[in-house]
């Protein structure tokens, strides 16, 4: 293994701002957000919240995937299969069956969307029983792996909103330890009443489009989507003469150990995760050209993350932005969706904007990028933090 890290040779994405990598890039460059009122299912909260909803219905997703009408894919599995299929196509993964290929997915909501819809009928009618085994988180990974034709090491991570970052990290470590040659990594989460209401009870949902790192930020917008990367060992890349989109050079995972849902005031977990990622990448903080922040726009996250960034970068905080105003907070998928955006930033030498920013936070001496900025980027750091103090950072470097 060379020090170049693990190669990213493919990626796929579906989010509120597009059904392909190209559509997502176009929306980022155009500053076109994907927030709307929720349309795919009824909820009392409809007029109170904005969401990053992907407008394709389950039937449309199923049809596009060519699934039979009586399939038991939940929306989480549908979104995941849709994005993962693109990742495989983009990595040109046909053939090469001799390679040890794995699939590490992640989700927080799993099949809850169907359980909340049909659960009340399960004890009285067998009509929807095929969704009973679709409930566990791991089921979505099985469905996606089966759809992709992957047999081998298939597993699932769930660490709330940092899930996909940890799935990506797990995949990279499996390649670095030579247990796998190639692995598809990422995450998927569908919007559900369960999560919308859960975040609502915590009173951290904004009633307007979210404003990360703004003094007057009022909370987050939830979103849904999926994204996957294809990671391959440098050896396989060279043997096959493959095009590399970027390298995953650093990763770090730490726990804030402060509170079940709130982040510590000095962002200890976030600080440790970034510090570890830099150490793995063997980079100094000054080498980071752009930070794709977790930036959920809750008062607590942005202050904690901002403080952690100031502790890492001191007075030289690199250009940074949160892309959550585009997609909403896609929970377990966020780390993968933002990994795709980080790679796009490297490929396009572009910093995506932090929409809706207006007033700097008085506690911090840092201001996010508010418009698309073109500049040469070599290394991008992406943060993902979750409930339970789970903090993870990834570093992507130019191919």
């Amino acid at each position: 293994m060379t020090d170049r890290g693990v190669a990213v040779t493919g990626m796929g994405i579906i989010s509120a701002i597009g059904e392909t990598v190209e559509e997502n890039l176009w929306s980022l460059l155009a500053g076109k957000h994907g927030l709307s009122r929720i349309a795919n299912f009824p909820t009392r909260l409809r007029e109170q919240i904005w969401v990053g909803e992907q407008k394709k219905t389950n039937d449309e997703l199923s049809a596009s995937l060519g699934l039979s009408e009586r399939n038991a894919f939940t929306r989480t599995a549908l979104l995941g299969a849709y994005a993962a299929r693109q990742a495989l196509e983009s990595a040109n993964m046909q053939g090469a069956h001799d390679l040890r290929t794995g699939f590490i997915s992640s989700t927080s909501v799993g099949g809850m969307d169907y359980t909340e819809r049909y659960g009340p009928t399960y004890l009285t009618s067998p009509e929807w029983h095929r969704y009973i085994p679709s409930h566990p988180a791991g089921d979505s990974s099985h469905k996606i792996a089966e759809y992709l034709g992957i047999k081998g090491l298939v597993t699932t991570v769930s660490t709330a909103c940092s899930s996909a970052a940890n799935a990506i990290m797990m995949g990279a470590r499996l390649i670095r330890s030579r247990r796998l040659d190639r692995v598809i990594v990422g995450g998927t989460d569908a919007l559900s009443k369960f999560t919308i209401n859960g975040f609502h009870t915590l009173m951290i949902l904004a009633d307007a489009p979210c404003q990360p790192f703004d003094m007057h930020r009022k909370g987050l917008n939830l979103g849904e989507g999926a994204a996957y990367l294809v990671l391959e060992s440098e050896e396989i890349v060279q043997r096959q003469g493959k095009k590399v989109l970027a390298y995953l050079t650093g990763y770090g995972n730490a726990n804030d150990a402060f509170h079940q849902t709130a982040s510590s005031e000095n962002g200890e977990g976030a600080f440790l995760a970034m510090q570890k990622a830099l150490a793995v990448a063997q980079l100094t903080p000054q080498a980071i050209d752009y930070v794709n922040a977790h930036g959920t726009a809750t008062p607590n996250n942005d202050l904690s993350e901002g403080r952690a960034m100031q502790r890492i970068f001191k007075s030289n905080v690199p250009p940074f932005s949160s892309t959550k105003p585009f997609t909403g907070h896609t929970l377990a998928a966020a780390g993968a969706i933002e990994a795709v955006y980080s790679i796009l930033a490297l490929q396009q030498d572009m910093v995506p904007p932090n929409l809706h920013f207006d007033t700097p936070m008085e506690e911090l001496d840092m201001i996010p990028e508010t418009a698309v900025r073109h500049r040469s980027l070599s290394h991008v750091l992406s943060n993902s933090f979750g409930f339970g103090g789970n903090c993870s950072s990834l570093i992507f470097s130019k191919a």
Binding site: P136, T156, G388
Partner: protein
């Protein structure tokens, strides 16, 4: 150079009570459809407020984690890695029910906060002020083995010295009533054991099992973990190559395996796979444990406790023999654990005496 990985401490709260030296000699065979874990007294160990607030999965895990760490004299591990199939179903059920009953109104956040799959690992990190690596794996029957794989990578590479590894699942009424309705769990009135089972479904249960894992052998060491292999799907005809490929990479031959711990759970479709693997190891003594643990996603962690106990004590409690005929074997060096559920999430683990 890969480092060796050892089980240096064990803790558990199960249907057979807490982990203790008489764990297997006092064990009784389960015959109910739903088998709750025998709960220890949490008073004095967890604050009264937390006892009320926390689900059984969290409490059992906090207890088991402390037992495992205590036995190995580790105060704060470098990492906490857990595996759980269904996560915190008690809180998940609670939040979902109030969502239905009150039509999205009058909800409170506590059960939502505690419903995420990573709650257990997070609560232990909070309790221990452990700021290290923290991940929860959630992949059906191989949730625990995924966590074990993660643990092995951290310790073999020397990234970390001590890892707290756990497998936990809790029973929650709504979740199991759905699984019963779907035919995955035996119906309430049935009284069958793994051996006497004729009705469909399994004897369902719960448990928390924690292992203090280290890259160094100490006085309390139970055994060494050689490796783990995961496979999402497998045809019966692929069993031989699945096993052979794994053993070959570990420089092992089928005849080196002294005992094989099989996940027989009384569901005939599941048990076919165990028969198929056993056929490949004619010289190994077959052992089983799901008649004591019950079936749940992370129950294979109970199987690892069996392997650890046998290798450390160099004796097999008679209740663990799958065959009535007890073999003449007197030394136990390599034990293979095989688990899967419904033909999915197959895992092989080799554990060695140390």
């Amino acid at each position: 150079m890969k480092k060796s990985v050892f089980i240096n401490g064990i803790g558990a709260v199960t249907t057979q009570g807490i982990w203790r030296s008489e764990f297997f000699s006092e064990a009784r065979v389960l015959d109910h459809a739903i088998n709750a874990a025998e709960q220890p007294a949490y008073k004095g160990f967890i604050s009264p407020g937390a006892i009320r607030r926390m689900s059984r999965g969290i409490k059992m895990s906090m207890y088991a984690a402390q037992q495992a760490l205590g036995e190995s004299f580790v105060t704060i591990p470098d990492a906490i890695i857990t595996g759980t199939g269904l996560g915190c179903s008690e809180d998940s059920d609670k939040f979902l029910r109030s969502l239905w009953e009150n039509d999205e109104q009058f909800l409170t956040p506590t059960s939502f906060i505690q419903s995420t799959h990573n709650t257990v690992a997070a609560q232990i990190a909070l309790q221990l002020s452990c700021k290290g690596y923290n991940v929860t794996h959630v992949n059906g029957a191989s949730s625990f083995e995924s966590a074990l794989l993660d643990t092995l990578m951290l310790l073999q590479t020397g990234e970390e010295e001590h890892v707290l590894l756990g497998g936990v699942d809790e029973i929650a009424e709504q979740t199991y009533s759905f699984l019963q309705a779907g035919g995955y769990i035996k119906t309430g009135s049935v009284r069958e054991t793994v051996k006497t089972s004729v009705s469909p479904g399994v004897n369902y249960a719960e448990g928390a099992h924690f292992f203090s894992m280290s890259a160094g052998r100490v006085a309390s060491s139970y055994a060494e973990i050689i490796d783990v292999k995961l496979q999402n799907e497998l045809e019966g005809s692929q069993m031989r190559s699945f096993l052979q490929d794994f053993l070959t990479t570990k420089d092992l031959h089928p005849e080196d395996i002294d005992a094989v711990i099989l996940g027989y759970n009384g569901d005939e479709n599941d048990d076919l796979f165990y028969d198929a693997l056993w056929q490949e190891l004619p010289l190994a003594t077959p052992l089983y444990y799901k008649h004591l643990s019950g079936q749940y996603d992370s129950c294979s962690a109970f199987g690892l406790m069996v392997a650890a106990f046998v290798l450390k004590q160099q004796t097999v409690p008679s209740i663990l023999y799958w065959n009535e005929k007890i073999p003449p074997n007197t030394t136990w060096k390599n034990i293979l654990i095989y688990n899967q559920y419904k033909g999915k999430d197959h895992s092989l683990v080799v554990v060695r005496a140390c």
